[in-house]
């Protein structure tokens, strides 16, 4: 097990990402966040809090479950548990920042893009990721990255948050 981010470094990364999002989009105009179940939702909440602290604006934040859009849905051994999707605002002409914990093959983001299309037509979609570990299988890249971590395919990146796992850390483990 290799510790790559501890609790303070996670906080710093989130704060930096919040700044970058505001900088790139020139403020909070039309901005909204979309957390991908389950740890993307927590990360989106934290980004929202940071953005509120910096820009004094509460940006609309939604929850997206992408399991129903996965391209490997019928092939996964264990049945996925379907969680709630909650989007209480109109996506039309919004800048949607998709938020997830790890970017790996890119298939989750592809599914999220599909799902978002069913909800409306945003002006732009961006991707915010805490850990980019490489090994993309689709032409997808992140706009905002907490940390790039080169990994081998036989390694697993574990992101742990207090809310779900009782502690704050990012580790790389052997499979």
């Amino acid at each position: 097990m290799k510790l790559v981010l501890d609790s303070p470094s996670i906080d710093r990364a989130v704060t930096r990402m919040a700044h970058e999002i505001l900088e790139k989009n020139k403020g909070t105009q039309d901005l909204c966040l979309m957390g991908i179940q389950t740890r993307g939702v927590i990360l989106a909440q934290r980004l929202k809090t940071q953005i509120q602290r910096i820009a004094k604006v509460e940006v609309p934040t939604g929850i997206l479950d992408i399991n129903l859009y996965r391209d490997d849905l019928t092939r996964v051994a264990e049945q996925p548990v379907i969680h709630k999707t909650e989007i209480n605002f109109d996506l039309a002409n919004k800048i949607v920042v998709l938020v997830d914990d790890v970017l790996y093959t890119g298939r989750t983001i592809r599914a999220a893009l599909d799902a978002l299309t069913d909800f409306g037509r945003p002006k732009r979609i961006e991707v915010a990721i805490l850990i980019d570990r490489g090994h993309r299988e689709l032409p997808i890249r992140a706009d905002f990255v907490g940390k790039n971590i080169p990994t081998n395919e036989d390694e697993i990146v574990h992101v742990r948050f207090t809310e779900t796992d009782g502690k704050e850390e990012v580790t790389v483990d052997q499979k």
Binding site: Y69, E78, Q79, K84, T117, D118
Partner: protein
């Protein structure tokens, strides 16, 4: 808490399911309910899967509900009904089903007039089988959608008082409700004319009451069953008029019930017989929400079962 995993390709009866499995369906249905509220009411979850609706009994709402559910999951649906199909030419159920299966269908949704026909079908085909009502045995998705609706309104099923009123003898809805609700800890009462209460029903863990005025006091839920006029040939009660007087839920009778009681009915309603129009359309009625929830529950059932390897 470890998540319950779903392993059944068939949904034949609520009798077969554990409390945890029922809760998993309800939880999944909650997520699917959101899909129907969207602008684009469709997810690609079952893209490329084929679901056959095999209905040997006339049914509009259940068949339509399953069809909408399948379509919202992007599955292809194929409809067979008994009139004009080969069964009216004397083909056996097993042959009909095997023929449909030979068309590479993943799941068969069946309604049939024989109790046990769904279980029988599940033994002769490899495709998944969803029981959409088998004789007077069970109607599991109706039971699930009733429970889903009760849970939505009353939050917690444990300790809740639920009364099923009407023809219990010939009701598959009653049997599925009884199994599901008692597993989740509700206190179930069945109420109807003594001729329409089947023998030994108390062994399923329910109380029996013949007097509806006594039965409806203190109940949190009244689930009014349809009086099936076509099944009353055996002298079960003398007239519709007397049934309505003795068992119909009228405005007057409602005064005896708790003010926050919810009124349910699986439909179609015989207005003025088992249920007064004012009550069916009144503030306590959740009848149309049952219909909406039916789609979410059936999406959950189709999704969970169709994903299981054949």
């Amino acid at each position: 808490m470890t998540e319950t995993s779903w392993t059944r390709k068939d949904l034949l009866a609520l009798e077969d399911l554990s409390k945890e499995e029922i809760e998993l369906i309800l939880k999944t249905a909650e997520s699917f309910k959101e899909v129907s509220a969207r602008e684009v009411k469709k997810v690609p979850a079952l893209r490329g899967k084929s679901i056959a609706n095999l209905f040997f009994e006339a049914s509009t709402r259940t068949r339509t509900s399953f069809e909408v559910a399948a379509k919202r999951l992007s599955a292809d649906t194929i409809n067979f009904s008994s009139s004009g199909s080969s069964t009216s030419k004397g083909e056996s159920l097993s042959d009909t089903a095997k023929n449909i299966e030979a068309m590479q269908v993943d799941t068969i949704v069946m309604r049939h007039s024989s109790s046990g026909s769904a279980e029988y079908l599940s033994k002769v085909v490899k495709a998944g089988v969803i029981n959409a009502g088998d004789g007077i045995h069970e109607h599991p998705t109706q039971g699930l959608l009733d429970i889903f609706t009760i849970k939505e309104k009353k939050k917690n099923i444990t300790g809740l008082k639920v009364c099923l009123i009407g023809d219990i003898l010939h009701s598959r809805v009653a049997r599925s409700n009884i199994w599901g609700l008692t597993k989740l800890g509700a206190k179930v009462t069945v109420c109807g004319p003594p001729t329409l209460i089947p023998r030994g029903i108390e062994k399923l863990g329910v109380s029996v009451e013949y007097d509806v005025d006594k039965a409806i006091k203190d109940q949190d839920v009244l689930n009014i069953l349809r009086i099936q006029l076509e099944r009353q040939a055996g002298a079960f009660f003398p007239s519709i008029r007397e049934y309505a007087a003795e068992y119909g839920i009228s405005v007057d009778r409602m005064k005896k019930a708790k003010s926050d009681v919810i009124i349910m009915h699986p439909g179609p309603i015989n207005r003025g017989v088992e249920l007064a129009a004012e009550v069916a359309d009144g503030a306590n009625s959740v009848i149309l929400e049952q219909v909406t929830n039916g789609i979410a529950v059936r999406m959950a059932v189709l999704f969970l079962t169709t994903m299981v390897e054949r």
